[in-house]
Every structure is written in structure tokens, then in C-alpha cells.
């Protein structure tokens, strides 16, 4: 019985980041990469995965060290841990593909100040066991990737007439260049927030 209850709550720990507490659509955290690097589905997907990786690794380390780090220096130590994994990710992406590194560029280093990661370290990993922190990081990371992908896909389809660089509209499609530019990020985010909020209020009513 008790193990059953435990199982339900761990699944919940994982699921909450994907939907109920989605970092982008519900908590509206980490807006800088959300708006800046979602001009194509590929960039959005890569950025989401990079952030998820940093989130996972920093959650693990913060959770491991939670009884060792004094309260007064906790924020400083979180930033140090996050910055380390961002640097590691930066090297890894360079080694995977020069092209990808070129298009993500400055935004990889900006993962350091993504408030999503710091908020999970402070609000969750520093108070929970390693296992739960991993689940939380996976849920939140995948939720973030999913949200970024939603934005990137819409912007690439409308702004470039393609998805993952494969054209989907017939020849002669007049693309909306504004969707690829920064302004398009705001439009798309607003539209998605509208849809998600609509769905969630309808669910709450019924």
C-alpha cells in the first residue's frame, strides 16, 4: 500500500513538469531562450535538450550536496555548479556539430542565468532526495524542451514554410518573415499561452 502511494507520487513528480507546472506555459520561467532561440524547430529542440541536461546534472549535484552546503552560500554554490555544467555542455555541443554551435551561439552560455534551473535547485533539489530530484529534473527539462519545440515548430512552419529544414508547403509559398524575427517569438508565445490557459481552465471547470 505504502509502496503504491510512493509510486504514484514519483510519477507525479515527473509528470508535473510536463504539463501541470510546465516551466514555460504555466510558470513562465526562462523566457530569454524561449523567445530568442525558437526560430527553427531544430534550434528550439537542441536548446531544450541542452537546458534539460544542465538541469538534470545540477539537480543531481545540488541534491547530493544539500546537507553539506551551508545556507549562507547556497545560491553562490548553485550558480557555480550550474555554470560548470553549462561550460561542459558548450564543449559537448561544439564537439557534436559546428553548425549547431554556430546557430545556438551566445545562448548556450546564457543557460547559466536561466531562472528555471536556479528555481529547481533552490525550490526542489536542495530539499529532496537524489532520486526525486532526477525525476523532477527530467520532467521539467522535457516540459521545457516540449514547450520550446511547440514555439519553434510554429515559427518555422509559418516563417520559413518548413519543419526541421524540410519544406512542407508547395513552391511559391510566401513565408511570414516576421515569425522568424524576435517579434514572432512574442506572438507565438502569446498564442500558445492562450491555448494552454483555455484548456486548463476548461479542465478545472469540468
Amino acid at each position: 500500500m505504502s509502496s503504491d502511494k510512493q509510486k504514484v507520487t514519483s510519477t507525479d513528480e515527473f509528470i508535473k513538469g510536463l504539463w501541470r507546472d510546465n516551466p514555460v506555459f504555466v510558470q513562465v520561467l526562462g523566457m530569454c531562450p524561449t523567445l530568442a532561440v525558437t526560430n527553427t524547430a531544430e534550434n528550439a529542440f537542441a536548446m531544450g535538450l541542452a537546458t534539460a541536461f544542465v538541469l538534470l546534472m545540477s539537480n543531481i549535484l545540488v541534491s547530493l550536496l544539500r546537507n553539506f552546503v551551508p545556507k549562507q552560500v547556497r545560491i553562490a554554490s548553485y550558480i557555480l555548479i550550474i555554470a560548470t555544467f553549462v561550460t561542459v555542455t558548450d564543449y559537448a555541443i561544439q564537439a557534436i556539430s559546428v553548425e549547431l554551435h554556430k546557430s545556438l551561439g551566445a545562448f548556450i552560455s546564457l543557460i547559466v542565468v536561466n531562472c528555471l534551473i536556479l528555481s529547481r535547485a533552490e525550490a526542489f533539489a536542495s530539499k529532496n532526495t537524489v532520486g526525486r530530484s532526477i525525476l523532477d529534473a527530467l520532467g521539467m527539462g522535457l516540459g521545457f524542451t516540449f514547450a520550446l519545440f511547440c514555439l519553434g515548430a510554429v515559427r518555422e512552419i509559418l516563417g520559413n514554410g518548413s519543419i526541421f529544414n524540410m519544406p512542407i508547403f508547395p513552391e511559391g509559398y510566401q513565408s511570414w518573415i516576421v515569425m522568424i524575427l524576435p517579434a514572432g517569438g512574442f506572438f507565438t508565445l502569446a498564442a500558445w499561452l492562450l491555448v494552454i490557459n483555455k484548456v486548463q481552465t476548461r479542465k478545472a471547470k469540468s
Binding site: F68, Q72, L80, V88
Partner: protein, 226 residues
């Protein structure tokens, strides 16, 4: 009052703990960063070299072997040794029979967003530019980055005139004109919507060719006379 004394009581024990925590995390971080840098370095260097090699083959069609050269401050062509950093770097491309295809020349200059780095191919026999590639640019996606993608713009560089006059200088400096107003062989047909970026490319090539092409032309004449 009680709070102040509380802090005083806690502090001596805690500062040692704080120091230990920060130094400990610092050491772990340093170790992780150095390890990942060392692990990825060989692959990153190889990928960058491959990307450059690919660009050279693009701008000099038919090339199978390349040789790096540099132009030093005196305007002389020198063979590059490992680790040299000359004023201008360029690569000679040869066919499988060992004939010279042309030179791929690196150049850079200010674009709209940041420095644009390009590579262009020069054929000394025809005295024209025969290829063009953007190596690095942060131009606006959808607008300025057309300099790397727009086919009509790329076609400018299939035969761009950079012939040398009798006094050993360029006859006409390469320049970008407004879209659809190209009249001469040394003009680059610009892009509407990427005016600044396409002009920047014209300036970079114009600047670079007037420095490098006379040197290469001289060198080529000497070589073919021998």
C-alpha cells in the same frame, strides 16, 4: 539583540564550513571543466578544419589537394609553417594532376550584427572570382543571412571580374550595387532586405582583393614564365 548574538555564535563554526563548501565545489567544477575540454578538443579542432576544407572545395571547384599560404606585411607570398599567423591566410587548390585551380582567400569585415568572415576563390588564369562562402556570420536570420543562402546573390561570384591593369593594381574595385542594377562584371548585385549585409560582403571582397590579388597575379606570372 538575541538575533545579533545568535549570528555571532553561529559564525565562527560556519565560516569554516562555508569556505570548505565553496572550495570543494570549486575543485569539482574545475575538474569537470578541464576534463570535458580535454576530451572534446581533438574532435572540435578536427570539425573546424573539416568545415574550412569543405568551404575551400566549394569555392574552388575541382580541387582535391590544398596548400596553405600567407601574405606577410611586406606583401609577399610565403609558405605557411605550423602555427604561423600571417596578415592574410589563403589556400592554393590543386587538381589530382597537380594543376593549380586557384586560391581560396580568407577575409573578414564588419557586417550588420557582427564581423562577417568569408572565403572566396580566385582564379589567376581567368582573373576572376569563381566562388564564395560565408564562414562565420551572426546576421539576422531570414534577412541578413541571405548572403549565405540566396542563390541569385551567390551567382554573382561565379565570374566576378578582378582583372589587373598595366600598373599592377586592380582595374576596378569590387562593389555592391542595388538589386537589379548590376551593369559591369565587377559589380555585385545586392539583395533587397539585406542591403547592409550584402554591401558589407562587397566591401570585404573589394578591400581584400585590392590587397591580395595584385600579389597573387605577380606570383602567378612569375610561375608560368618559368
Amino acid at each position: 539583540m538575541s538575533e545579533a548574538s545568535n549570528i555571532e555564535m553561529q559564525n565562527p563554526a560556519n565560516s569554516k564550513k562555508m569556505l570548505l563548501a565553496m572550495v570543494g565545489i570549486g575543485i569539482i567544477s574545475a575538474f569537470l571543466i578541464v576534463m570535458s575540454f580535454e576530451l572534446t578538443l581533438p574532435r572540435v579542432t578536427r570539425l573546424k578544419a573539416e568545415a574550412l576544407e569543405k568551404a575551400i572545395f566549394e569555392v574552388l571547384p575541382g580541387t582535391v589537394r590544398t596548400q596553405a599560404y600567407g601574405v606577410n606585411t611586406n606583401g609577399e607570398l610565403i609558405e605557411l609553417a605550423e602555427g604561423d599567423k600571417p596578415e592574410i591566410t589563403l589556400y592554393a587548390g590543386y587538381t589530382s594532376e597537380g594543376n593549380l585551380v586557384g586560391y581560396a582567400i580568407e577575409a573578414s569585415g564588419q557586417g550588420y550584427a557582427d564581423i562577417i568572415r568569408i572565403l572566396y576563390g580566385y582564379d589567376p588564369a581567368k582573373q576572376t572570382i569563381i566562388g564564395f562562402q560565408v564562414l562565420e556570420s551572426k546576421e539576422t536570420p531570414g534577412l541578413g543571412d541571405k548572403i549565405a543562402k540566396d542563390e541569385r546573390f551567390q551567382n554573382n561570384f561565379n565570374a566576378l571580374d578582378v582583372s589587373i591593369s598595366k600598373d599592377g593594381q586592380l582595374r576596378n574595385k569590387v562593389i555592391t550595387v542595388k538589386q537589379g542594377q548590376k551593369q559591369h562584371e565587377w559589380e555585385i548585385d545586392g539583395i533587397t532586405g539585406a542591403t547592409i549585409s550584402s554591401r558589407a560582403v562587397g566591401n570585404i571582397i573589394g578591400e581584400s582583393t585590392s590587397n591580395v590579388v595584385p600579389v597573387l597575379h605577380e606570383y602567378f606570372k612569375k610561375e608560368s614564365n618559368e
